[in-house]
């Protein structure tokens, strides 16, 4: 479409963000190590020690006990473990507990796991409405709980939305649920390192995080889960992770993950301030060039790096392709089926119609984002929008 771009402008940090050099160093330093953390000999003990130190590092960064960190293969597994594990154990303890309450803007790792529970395990899943900023309707939530608290197995509300960046009122969610002893799970994959996350202070019972969204490696994540909570395992085998998650521990990845979590949490305040300033500049200047573009989500209670914009009369996928040809990488922000963008369930839940949902793009900034990235987008967006508007299939 255009001459090959001389460098990539990466504005898709919510999809995955580059590994922190220190995390690469930690991980690669251990890739050649011998020793299964479950083995009893010296090599095994050495590997075990790295895993446990990593666990302690993560626990300290997020304010939980080391024993509350369950390593998983990533966010999807942690979400599945929390939802299915909690539903099974809570339902077994009291068969009346059949309902699961969740927001309608959860990630598919939550929504599809809930669909499965509804279909296969006869869970009654209630997806709660959100307002036009994507924020949970607390009144509807409270009503849903109070209607019959004894039948609620668990509540799952994400800390921050992956598409539009809206932060959810986790404190209020916990306040209502805890009155009835109902456990709350939160998918905090997008939140850790971007906004302050304190497991103990939040009052949530289970929290999902993953390595590759915060500067760690792919394929490793964790579920933080209160010790007193019983969780039925998904994976059975060698009994690792307190029998909650069997499987040989990926020591090098866990070590890199811990380095990344520690760093991300430590620098979070400065990071958020710097990235939010870039983001605000991006939004203001894109709207300067395309006056009818508008920000989706909550203007204030949102992730610092998220700029989800609507471009009326402009197909998001055309715009994405035109920007990609200029070396600018972003996302339509929604799940794909065979690569076909479906209208986002998040935007539909916020009250947009199919067209409004398709006429949107998500730009997400991260640790490596620079002013030059924003400048490049601002320069390219006007002609790209104009061209994409001319290419609509009627």
């Amino acid at each position: 479409m255009h001459d090959a771009p001389d460098h990539t402008v990466y504005l898709d940090h919510a999809a995955t963000t580059p590994m922190l050099p220190a995390a690469v160093e930690t991980m690669t330093a251990h890739l050649g190590d011998i020793g299964n953390p479950s083995s009893l000999h010296a090599s095994g003990r050495a590997a075990r020690r790295i895993v446990e130190e990593s666990r302690e590092t993560i626990a300290q960064a997020l304010n939980c006990r080391p024993g509350e960190v369950v390593f998983t293969s990533g966010g999807t597994e942690a979400d599945n473990l929390a939802l299915k594990g909690l539903f099974w154990s809570r339902h077994e303890a009291d068969p009346r507990r059949i309902r699961i309450l969740a927001s309608s803007v959860e990630h598919h790792a939550v929504l599809d796991a809930l669909d499965w529970l509804a279909e296969e395990e006869h869970a009654e899943v209630e997806l709660l409405s959100v307002d036009n900023r994507g924020r949970l309707d607390l009144e509807a939530y409270r009503d849903a709980v109070e209607r019959d608290p004894g039948s609620v197995a668990l509540v799952s509300v994400m800390w921050a939305n992956n598409e539009v960046g809206t932060l959810q009122p986790i404190e209020d969610v916990v306040a209502v649920a805890s009155r009835h002893g109902i456990p709350v799970h939160t998918d905090a994959v997008q939140a850790v390192g971007a906004v302050p996350v304190d497991f103990a202070a939040s009052g949530v019972d289970a929290l999902t995080l993953t390595g590759h969204k915060l500067g760690g490696p792919y394929g490793v994540g964790a579920l933080l889960v209160r010790r007193e909570l019983s969780l039925t395992p998904l994976l059975h085998g060698g009994g690792q992770e307190r029998d909650i998650r069997s499987g040989t521990l990926d020591m090098p990845a866990i070590a890199g993950f811990a380095t990344a979590v520690e760093h991300a949490v430590k620098v979070q305040p400065e990071y958020a301030e710097r990235v939010a300033a870039l983001r605000d500049d991006l939004v203001a200047r894109v709207i300067g060039v395309v006056p009818d573009a508008h920000l989706h989500g909550d203007p204030d209670a949102r992730l610092p790096g998220n700029a989800h914009l609507g471009f009326p009369d402009c197909e998001g996928d055309s715009l994405l392709m035109l920007l990609d040809a200029r070396g600018i990488e972003c996302s339509t922000g929604s799940a794909c089926s065979a690569g076909v963008p479906q209208p986002s369930h998040v935007l539909l839940a916020m009250g947009l119609d199919d067209e409004g949902a398709r006429h949107s793009l998500r730009f997400t900034l991260g640790r490596t984002s620079t002013q030059a990235d924003v400048d490049a987008l601002v320069e390219a967006i006007g002609p790209a929008v104009e061209r994409a508007r001319g290419a609509r299939i009627q």
Binding site: M1, D317, S318, M321, L322, D324, A325, C336, S337, A338, G339, V340, P341, R387, A388, G390, A391, R392, I393
Partner: protein, 373 residues
Amino acid sequence: MKVVAAMSGGVDSAVAAARAHDAGHDVTGIHLALSRNPASYRSGARGCCTIEDANDARRAADVIGIPFYVWDLSERFHEDVVEDFMNEYAAGHTPNPCLRCNEKIKFAAVLDKALALGFDAVATGHYAQVHPGPDGTAELHRAVDPGKDQSYVLGVLTQEQIAHSLFPLGDTPKPQVRDEAAARGLLVADKPDSHDICFVADGDNAGWLREKLGERAPNHGGAIVDSESGRELGRHDGTFGFTIGQRKGLRLGTPAPDGKPRFVLDIEPVSGTVTVGPRAALTVDRITADRPRWCGAAPEASLHGAVQLRAHGTEHRALVTVDPPGSTDGTVEIELLDPAQGIAPGQAAVIYDGTRVVGSATIVSTARSGVPA
């Protein structure tokens, strides 16, 4: 040129994209999502809109080293191709959805979108050739490999569309294309050719139509009537199960007086009557067609050329007259010098002058010399 290569996930379109790339064009691979619910198709389902096909196309684009995207044309495809296919069958016609797709989707919606996005042309894996004509305009011609020639399904393209089309395989026999795919490391090299209608996953057209048309009129049962005696020979449960020239599946109890097989001669969708008769009654040498599409200028005078009446069908020498002469939307009268058999309304007659595609028209009625239509 900046070129969009439509990549179905099959071997032909993959090699076509690779050749366009080799020719120095700036190529972007596009897979068209045509099914409304691609997730409903499982591996093994035939057709061009499965997730496997999209993945195959994506891998081919990776190997070639070109960008790749999926364009969702499922709504347009459903309205313009699938709905049309059902309506035509319901009217007792035998449509060819591939022509319709080329007319409305691949070289219309896709080409329009591509041009608007700054591309110059669309490349596909069709076996056909574009050559400059005497006046410099782009002409559509048959492929070099007569066994694979697909100019028939492209007979709906206008001059403008042909001028923006690339058919990189038109000069090559199919086995060579497979060899080339293998040599290029394209994993689709062994993938079987697609033959069926892409949106009918199991190839069972009658079953698909029965399910989709449901109770919709005039999809009702009716009589199967003998053309010679006028007697009712049997009943059927929907006209869509029949096509003119069909012999199998009539389930007639009574044998014909001469003991010879009977064929579907006519389908009357309103009454539901299906007329059957001897093979000889299927022979036609006059065809009236409408909705012409001209690949260049419409013929001013009667053309001594040829027509092809089915995909991969034989050529029939013919005298083609447009009424009024030179009209872009008139009626096309075709006199066949080589008679044809079992020609159904709804089929496309594609008109050739040598290897050049002159245009196409949709068959409305047929007749035999001396026998009124």
